[in-house]
């Protein structure tokens, strides 16, 4: 009886904790999305009326639309490059013993440990020295540095679960090393590659701290633009922009998850 009671109490409190965690995670986003449909002039909850007014405003706002475009193409570029570099690095670390392997691994993971502000200032100074501050490269490279640890970590996990005997079998069937990677290794760790791509995309797309130091005139990312805007005004426009960001991120994740799911079935 008593054990039964304790079990139930534990189960109940576990469920409560889970509910609270999910609520804390989802509520802010939900709140923003709900507020974005307001027809009023100020950001209030509950919103007054329902309209697409602020979405229309965003659509017509050149600052935000440019920033959205900048964020998107930087995120896509960063994901692609991080995937290529991260796979190469993870493959080398997984397969070969070489001098400085531990150092390379620590270096690749260091952006996870260094505070983002420090990283941002450091990168800004570096690019100033290189005379590159008025270009897209700081933003691109800064995000790349942030994304690579996630990509490497995910791909390393995939590679360590991957059955190497399959590669031996392929080699035995006359496949050259490159062909083995293309026909056997990559297709089999595709789920890992895709989740690595999601990590890279989301890391780049949502970053404020490092981006704030590295943006310049023509290339402001959306989160930085939102941050700047909120500094001076507080109207539902930000809610609409933020909702757009949430939707884009969700769509990317869902599409990629669908791809992985489909791959598993086929």
């Amino acid at each position: 009886m008593r054990v039964d009671l304790i079990d139930r109490a534990m189960a109940a409190s576990g469920a409560a904790v889970r509910a609270i965690v999910y609520a804390m995670l989802a509520l802010p986003a939900l709140l923003v999305i709900v507020c974005s449909f307001t027809s009023g002039d100020s950001l209030n909850f509950p919103p007054t009326g329902f309209s697409m007014r602020w979405y229309r405003e965003v659509w017509q706002n050149e600052l935000f639309m440019t920033a959205l475009w900048t964020s998107t193409y930087i995120a896509v570029l960063v994901s692609t490059m991080a995937l290529a570099i991260g796979f190469a690095a993870a493959f080398a670390i997984n397969r070969f013993a070489f001098l400085g392997k531990g150092f390379l691994q620590a270096l690749a993971f260091s952006p996870l440990i260094i505070p983002a502000v420090v990283l941002g200032i450091g990168l800004l100074q570096l690019f100033a020295k290189l005379n590159l501050t008025q270009t897209i490269y700081p933003l691109l490279l800064g995000h790349l540095v942030l994304a690579i640890p996630y990509v490497m970590r995910t791909i390393l996990a995939s590679l360590s679960l991957h059955d190497r005997v399959l590669e031996e079998a392929a080699m035995n069937l006359r496949a050259s090393p490159l062909k083995v990677i293309r026909r056997i290794t990559l297709p089999l760790i595709l789920p890992g590659l895709l989740s690595a791509a999601i990590f890279a995309f989301v890391t780049s797309f949502g970053n404020v701290t490092v981006s704030a130091f590295l943006t310049y005139g023509g290339h402001v990312t959306l989160p930085v633009q939102i941050f700047t805007y909120v500094d001076t005004s507080y109207d539902p426009l930000v809610a609409a922009v933020s909702s757009l960001m949430i939707v884009i991120t969700l769509v990317i994740i869902l599409v990629i998850e669908r791809l992985i799911g489909a791959e598993r079935v086929v």
Partner: protein
């Protein structure tokens, strides 16, 4: 499937056409030798078995032939070409892995076709060969299935078809039956033997199962602790073992240490005498269970006195461990119903000296 052609075995044993040759091959891991100075040759069309306990270096040897492990010294020749340092994908071998290693993201047909694609066979020829190979292993109806949808036995046949599709000079089999249950194992053994014979491919086969080795091979290489103990036909290995290890490893036997005197008779250290005509010196005698017979009904007083230590009823026969003059001997005999020997019984036995094998001290 094609039937085994008559008289092929003679052709094999006479041929001096070697497809695989290992010359003094060693493989060291740090200070320990996984394989120590192995030399062997596989004749064209021969099924050569590497037999030994786990850790004896047989799989390492096979992997060196495939090119996954580089020898520390010595050389490996395939079709008389030195392949010692050649990459796996430049060697003319086809391997069936212990886990089969079928590509999970490709269909059965895709798996079999993979090697042919790498060899740049044109599509039509490739499809024809895939079809032919799947028919050979009787899986044509499952061509579009994924490996995960197949049973263990079917997966093994796909692995075999895939390895044979590229027409390798040598087929390598790494414990191919170890993942199958006992009944399926016997059936797959026969099937595999039939397929391998029908395409007449030189085969190197690794196993720790003596029964597999005895029933399937043309010749057996018995390995122990990285070394070759003996190379010979199943009959030679069983009937004339070269070392005590081979005698012990293949089948049941009793090993008696002792000396041969000037009269040619053997006396064991415990004092058991066996008459014979051997050359004098220290020696070990190998007595197979079937070389012990009950003398005239097994009544005590006839022949050698033997006391029963253990008896194991096997159905068709009873295996008995006997104490004969202080030596333990294993006998296998069919006792009349209701008269199974018990611990402590005394039997009269004779030791048949026909084909009794004596191993000289090494």
């Amino acid at each position: 499937m094609l039937a085994l052609s008559e008289g092929k075995e003679d052709a094999v044993s006479e041929s001096n056409d070697f497809v695989v040759e290992l010359r003094s091959v060693s493989k060291l891991y740090g200070d320990t030798a996984a394989v120590a100075d192995i030399s062997l040759k596989a004749r064209r069309g021969e099924l050569l078995c590497l037999l030994g306990p786990s850790g004896c270096g047989k799989t390492t040897t096979l992997r060196m032939v495939a090119g996954f492990v580089e020898p520390s010294s010595g050389s490996i020749h395939i079709n008389n070409i030195d392949m010692t340092h050649q990459a796996p994908y430049r060697r003319d071998t086809g391997m069936v892995f212990q886990s089969y290693a079928l590509f999970p993201h490709m269909t059965v047909a895709g798996n079999v076709s993979f090697g042919l694609e790498n060899l740049r066979w044109p599509r039509e020829k490739r499809d024809k060969r895939v079809d032919e190979m799947l028919k050979l292993v009787e899986l044509a109806h499952l061509a579009q299935r994924l490996p995960s949808q197949l049973s263990g036995g079917q997966q093994q046949r796909v692995a075999l078809a895939r390895a044979l599709a590229i027409k390798p000079a040598v087929l390598l089999l790494d414990e191919p039956f170890s993942n199958l249950d006992a009944q399926l194992r016997v059936r797959m053994r026969e099937e595999l033997q039939e397929v391998v014979r029908s395409v007449n491919v030189t085969t190197l086969f690794v196993t720790h199962d003596q029964e597999e080795a005895l029933t399937m091979s043309d010749r057996i290489v018995v390995m122990n602790a990285g070394k070759v103990e003996q190379i010979g036909t199943p009959g030679e290995i069983y009937e004339t073992p070269a070392t005590p290890f081979v005698a012990k490893f293949i089948g049941w036997c009793s090993l008696l240490k002792g000396t041969v005197d000037d009269a040619g008779a053997f006396t064991s250290t415990a004092g058991l005498r066996i008459m014979g005509n051997w050359s004098a010196g220290p020696a070990t005698v190998v007595i197979r269970p079937e070389q012990l017979k009950l003398s005239a009904g097994g009544a005590p007083g006839q022949g050698q006195q033997a006391r029963v230590l253990h008896s194991q009823y096997l159905g068709g026969a009873t295996r008995v461990v006997l104490d004969v003059n202080g030596e333990q001997l294993i006998m296998q005999e069919r006792f009349p119903f209701g008269r199974h020997p018990q611990h402590g019984d005394v039997l009269g036995i004779t030791i048949s000296t026909d084909n009794l094998r004596l191993i000289g001290e090494a």
